[in-house]
Symmetry: D2
Subunit: 127 residues, 4 copies
Amino acid sequence: MKKEQFIQFMEEGNLSVPKYLLNNYVNLGLNEKEFILLLHVHSFVESGIIFPTPMEIADKMTIDPSECMEILRHLLQKGYVSISDEMDEYSIKYERYSLQPLWEKMITYMMDQNKQTTQSMNQQQEM
Amino acid sequence: MKKEQFIQFMEEGNLSVPKYLLNNYVNLGLNEKEFILLLHVHSFVESGIIFPTPMEIADKMTIDPSECMEILRHLLQKGYVSISDEMDEYSIKYERYSLQPLWEKMITYMMDQNKQTTQSMNQQQEM
Amino acid sequence: MKKEQFIQFMEEGNLSVPKYLLNNYVNLGLNEKEFILLLHVHSFVESGIIFPTPMEIADKMTIDPSECMEILRHLLQKGYVSISDEMDEYSIKYERYSLQPLWEKMITYMMDQNKQTTQSMNQQQEM
Amino acid sequence: MKKEQFIQFMEEGNLSVPKYLLNNYVNLGLNEKEFILLLHVHSFVESGIIFPTPMEIADKMTIDPSECMEILRHLLQKGYVSISDEMDEYSIKYERYSLQPLWEKMITYMMDQNKQTTQSMNQQQEM
């Protein structure tokens, strides 16, 4: 392996995936393809490609662009990802994907889980 | 959200996924389910559960234990993951999953890609 | 670079540092040496060495074991790290470092910051 | 803790630090302040601030802007970080920090270590 390849590998960097998300994407209502697609969107945005096309995303998956577009539409509708309108320093409008809805779903799920655990503990104590 | 929940979330931590792997798992011959299954194995091992059962893994995916076992067998056969025999301080033998084969496949692919790029550049220069 | 070296590099893995912590360790009352020492403790624990000696930690820093011990004592006293007593499956007691106090300090700081921002916004609106 | 705060925390994300680098920055000739300063530069660049000022960096450390400038100059001179000239889509030139030199120093060190280990093993076998 050449030095240049290793340096390029280092420059690409890593995607940090919260283990809580990895452990609970199914509980949040996602299947593997949907979850990975969100990771790809996350990775693109982090790398500066803030509004990747279905073609660019599909290119890194085992799906074709039309299936990718369909999954994206589904994820947008169900509120796992959103598109926000922004404006750059030259007043040119642009769109970007945001994973804020995913984090919101995750935290809501965490809080619900906690409530249920507390309730079942209270019920056990009462019995 | 309670403090305790946030602390627990921090304690679970993150899984670092090399973006090169995320961008190239399809080129390495993996589909989404297989890739995610490997991430789960990676995450289990990092968390100290070094030989998770198919049931434990399937529990975090949209597949059932028997499908999980089949995918695991396929990944072991094709050399994406291996099982190594180790011995603890009390001379008790145990098994653990290792992702070394995956890293080896990845680096081999990186080196092949680089060769092909160099070759096609040489061919272009010759023309 | 040999394949084996790259594989070993991959096996060592990465430490995920929350950018919020990186951006605010000074606000939490830490200097660079103390912050890095906590990262080393974090890294050791993740790698399975749950109670590293001051010598092991100092070995990876520009400080000697006695300075390391002093910093550790300071961090324990001030509540940035704690030592918890645990018991293994053979009922043998052991100690481990925990970064829970650090996460608690971080979340408390986050919440305080938020309150201050809200208050100053309210004051501005009142004026 | 409010949901919005948690979402903001998630949006800031994590910095992935190779454990090999964490374990060997001293061997690469860096002290804690220099190492952390490089992590800050890395974090800024990842967040889209590709050429942070000494003031912006010092603001997150226990040093003042002039000490920060001095350390930066030292790191540039000794080849741990570099400044590269780039051009945007509107042909406007801009500068950015690059950590490529750091990765190169790291890989060179890894390879040297490996050679020494091999040599000492050969010497032991000869004896």
